[in-house]
C-alpha cells in the first residue's frame, strides 16, 4: 500500500542524489580551475599537501602574471572584436535569408533551408586544409581577418536555422494586415517582423558570439603570431614555455574566459530552446 507522502520523499531524495552526482562531475573542473587560480605555486606543486584546501594563504600572483606578462588581454580583445564583426556579418546574411526561406519561397524554400542547415554539419576539420590555402592566397594569413571571413561559415547556417524557427512562430496574418495597410513586403519585414523578433535576434547574437569564442581549429590553422591570436588558441599554446605549463595562470585564464560566457548562455537558453522546438516540431 503506497503512501503518497513517502513516495514524494523517495522522489525528492533520488532526484537530488542524481543531480548532486552529475552536477559535481560536470562542474568539478571549474571548481578546480578556481582553486588553482588562487593557490600559491609552492602549494600547488607540493604533492603531500591536500589539494582541496589552501595550505598556504591564497594569492593573486597568477592573475598578475596573466594580465601583466602575457598577451591574455590582447587575445580577449581580438576575440571580442572578431566576435562583434562576425555577429554583424551573420545578421546581415542570415536575417534576410531566414525571412525569405520562411515566408517567400514555399515548399522548396523549406528544402533549401534544410540544405543550408546541412552545411553546418560540414566540419572545420574537413574544410581547414583547403581553406588554409584560400586564406593564404587572399593574403589574410596570420591576421584576425582570416577568421572573420571564415567564421560565418558555421554561424550563418546555425543562425538561419534558429531564425527560421522564430519567424515561423509569428503569424502570417500580421504581415498580411500590414500589407493591406500599405506596407510593401520588404517594409513589413523591416518595420514589423524584425522588431517583433528582437528577442529571437538577440538570442542569435549571443549564440553566435559564443560559437566564435569556442572556436579552435580555424584559429589554430590560420593564425600563428601571439599578438594576433584568439582566446581559445592563445591560452593553451602560449601560456606554456617549452614543456612547462604555468598551471596557475592557465587555470585563471580558463576561468575568466568561461564564466561570463556561461552566464550569458544561461540567460538566453530558454529562448533558444523555444526557437529550436518550434522549428523542429513544426
Amino acid at each position: 500500500m503506497r503512501n503518497a507522502m513517502s513516495y514524494k520523499i523517495v522522489q525528492h531524495v533520488s532526484r537530488w542524489s542524481v543531480l548532486a552526482v552529475f552536477a559535481i562531475l560536470l562542474a568539478f573542473p571549474f571548481y578546480w580551475m578556481f582553486i588553482t587560480t588562487f593557490k600559491q605555486t609552492a602549494d600547488l606543486y607540493t604533492l603531500e599537501n591536500n589539494p582541496f584546501k589552501f595550505n598556504l594563504p591564497p594569492t593573486l600572483e597568477h592573475l598578475r602574471l596573466l594580465f601583466g606578462q602575457t598577451k591574455y588581454v590582447t587575445w580577449l580583445e581580438n576575440t571580442a572584436i572578431v566576435g562583434a564583426i562576425v555577429v554583424g556579418i551573420t545578421l546581415v546574411l542570415a536575417l534576410p535569408a531566414a525571412y525569405a526561406l520562411t515566408r517567400l519561397t514555399g515548399r522548396w524554400g523549406q528544402r533549401l533551408g534544410i540544405i543550408i542547415f546541412l552545411t553546418y554539419l560540414v566540419p572545420p576539420t574537413l574544410l581547414f586544409i583547403p581553406l588554409s590555402r584560400v586564406v593564404a592566397i587572399l593574403g589574410l594569413q596570420d591576421t584576425i581577418w582570416s577568421v572573420v571571413v571564415v567564421y560565418p561559415t558555421f554561424t550563418v547556417p546555425f543562425s538561419i536555422w534558429l531564425l527560421m524557427g522564430f519567424f515561423k512562430s509569428i503569424p502570417r496574418e500580421l504581415e498580411d494586415a500590414a500589407m493591406v495597410d500599405g506596407l510593401t513586403r520588404l517594409g513589413a519585414f523591416v518595420r514589423l517582423v524584425v522588431p517583433i523578433s528582437l528577442s529571437g535576434i538577440l538570442t542569435v547574437v549571443i549564440f553566435t558570439f559564443t560559437l566564435v569564442t569556442q572556436e579552435f581549429v580555424y584559429a589554430l590553422t590560420f593564425i600563428s603570431t601571439e599578438n594576433n591570436q584568439m582566446l581559445g588558441v592563445g591560452v593553451p599554446t602560449f601560456l606554456v614555455r617549452g614543456d612547462v605549463y604555468y598551471w596557475g595562470s592557465l587555470m585563471a585564464a580558463c576561468l575568466i574566459a568561461s564564466l561570463p560566457i556561461a552566464v550569458l548562455y544561461n540567460l538566453f537558453l530558454d529562448r533558444f530552446i523555444a526557437g529550436f522546438t518550434v522549428g523542429a516540431v513544426k
Binding site: M1, R2, N3, A4, Y7
Partner: protein, 345 residues
C-alpha cells in the same frame, strides 16, 4: 451502497485564498450517470481529479465502495479515467493501448487477448486494433479511450470533458454513443462538462458547481424546473432565465414562458414590450425586448417563441407570464424561496 462518496472535500491551492473545491459532500448511486456541471474554474475538474487520486485533497474524505481511499494511488482505487485529450499512447497500437492497463496490473498474459477483444467489441473497434492513434478519427479515438478504460472492469468511470475536443457535428453522435455505452455496461460514471446541454441530455443527476461549491444536486428536471439559486437558474437554459428585482425578492421566468398575452391563460405579470431585435433560428424565434412603462420600465427581457408572427422592431406589444412559471429567489441570499404575492405595477 454508494459507489463514490465525498465528505467535506476541500482543495486549497494557495494559502489564504478561496479553495478550488470547498466542502463538497456527495454520494453517487450505483450505476448512475452523474454530471459535474459548471463554468471553467468552478472546481469540477479538480474534484474529479481528487476522486481519481491525481490531486491530494487539503481536507475531507473520499470513499470508493465504502473504503476510504485518500491515501491510495490511482491504480489502487479501481477507477478508470478518460481524459479530455484521450491521452492515448501514440507509439502503441490500439491493441496495445487497450492492453496496457492489463499489463500494468499484471493480469496473466493469456487473458489479455480475450479481454482486449471483449472491450473492443463493446465499442465496435475490433477492426482498428492494429492501427496507431494518429491514424484514427476523433470519434474512433474516443472509443479507444473508452475501451482502455473498460478493459479493467473498474467500479467507477471518470470522464473529463471527453466531447469538447470534437467538432460540433461529431459531438452529437459521440454523445449518443456514450449514452448507449453507459446503458450497456451500467458502471457508475462521473462526467465533467461545462456544457449544460450535455449535462441535461446525459445525466441521471446533475451536480451544479460554482467557485468550488455545490449549488444544487438533482435530476435534470429538478435543476431546470426548480433551480436552487439564481446561479443554477441562469446557468441552465439558453437563453438564460430573465431575472427582475421586486422589493426584497428576485423573480425569474424562462424565455419560453414569456409569451404574447393571448397565449397566457392565468397571466400574473403583464409587460408592454418594445421589440428591439428578433432572431430566427429555424425551429424557433428569439425576441429581445425592453419593458416600457410600469415598475420595470427599461429592463431588457428575452422571449422564446415558436413563431414570431408579425412582430416588428420598435413596435410595442403586450406580453405576460403565467403564475406557475414564476421562480422566486431571496434578493440577498439569491436562494430559492416560497412564492409571495407581490406588486407588479
Amino acid at each position: 451502497m454508494a459507489v463514490v462518496e465525498t465528505r467535506n472535500l476541500t482543495k486549497v491551492f494557495k494559502e489564504g485564498e478561496l479553495g478550488a473545491v470547498n466542502n463538497v459532500n456527495l454520494e453517487t448511486r450505483e450505476g448512475e450517470f452523474l454530471v459535474f456541471l459548471g463554468p471553467s474554474g468552478s472546481g469540477k475538474t479538480t474534484l474529479l481529479r481528487m476522486i481519481a487520486g491525481l490531486e491530494q485533497p487539503t481536507a475531507g474524505e473520499i470513499r470508493i465502495g465504502s473504503r476510504v481511499v485518500n491515501h491510495l494511488s490511482p491504480r489502487e482505487r479501481r477507477i478508470a479515467m478518460v481524459f479530455q485529450s484521450y491521452a492515448l499512447y501514440p507509439h502503441l497500437s490500439v491493441y496495445n493501448n487497450i492492453a496496457f492497463p492489463l499489463k500494468a496490473q499484471k493480469v496473466p498474459k493469456d487473458q489479455h487477448r480475450k479481454k482486449v477483444e471483449w472491450a473492443a467489441s463493446l465499442l465496435g473497434i475490433n477492426l482498428l486494433l492494429n492501427r496507431k492513434p494518429r491514424e484514427l478519427s476523433g470519434g474512433e479515438r474516443q472509443r479507444v479511450a473508452l475501451a482502455r478504460a473498460i478493459v479493467r472492469e473498474p467500479s467507477v468511470f471518470l470522464l473529463d470533458e471527453p466531447l469538447s475536443n470534437l467538432d460540433a457535428k461529431l459531438r452529437a453522435s459521440a454523445r449518443e454513443e456514450l449514452e448507449s455505452f453507459h446503458k450497456r455496461i451500467g458502471t457508475t460514471t462521473i462526467y465533467v462538462t461545462h456544457d449544460q446541454v450535455e449535462a441535461m441530455a446525459m445525466g441521471d443527476r446533475v451536480m451544479v458547481l460554482n467557485k468550488g461549491v455545490v449549488r444544487q444536486l438533482g435530476s435534470p428536471t429538478e435543476v431546470y424546473d426548480r433551480p436552487a439559486d439564481t446561479f443554477v437558474a441562469t446557468f441552465l437554459g439558453s437563453p438564460p432565465m430573465n431575472l427582475l428585482e421586486n422589493g426584497d425578492m428576485i423573480v425569474g421566468f424562462r424565455p419560453e414562458h414569456l409569451l404574447p398575452v393571448e397565449l397566457v391563460p392565468r397571466a400574473v405579470i403583464n409587460f408592454r414590450l418594445r421589440v428591439k431585435n428578433t432572431e430566427y433560428l429555424g425551429a424557433e424565434w428569439i425576441l429581445y425586448g425592453m419593458v416600457t412603462g410600469g415598475k420595470f420600465d427599461g429592463k431588457q427581457v428575452v422571449s422564446r417563441l415558436g413563431s414570431a408572427g408579425s412582430f416588428q422592431a420598435n413596435e410595442t406589444y403586450e406580453f405576460a407570464v403565467q403564475e406557475e412559471h414564476l421562480h422566486f429567489f431571496d434578493r440577498h441570499t439569491e436562494k430559492r424561496t416560497e412564492p409571495k404575492v407581490l406588486a407588479w405595477q
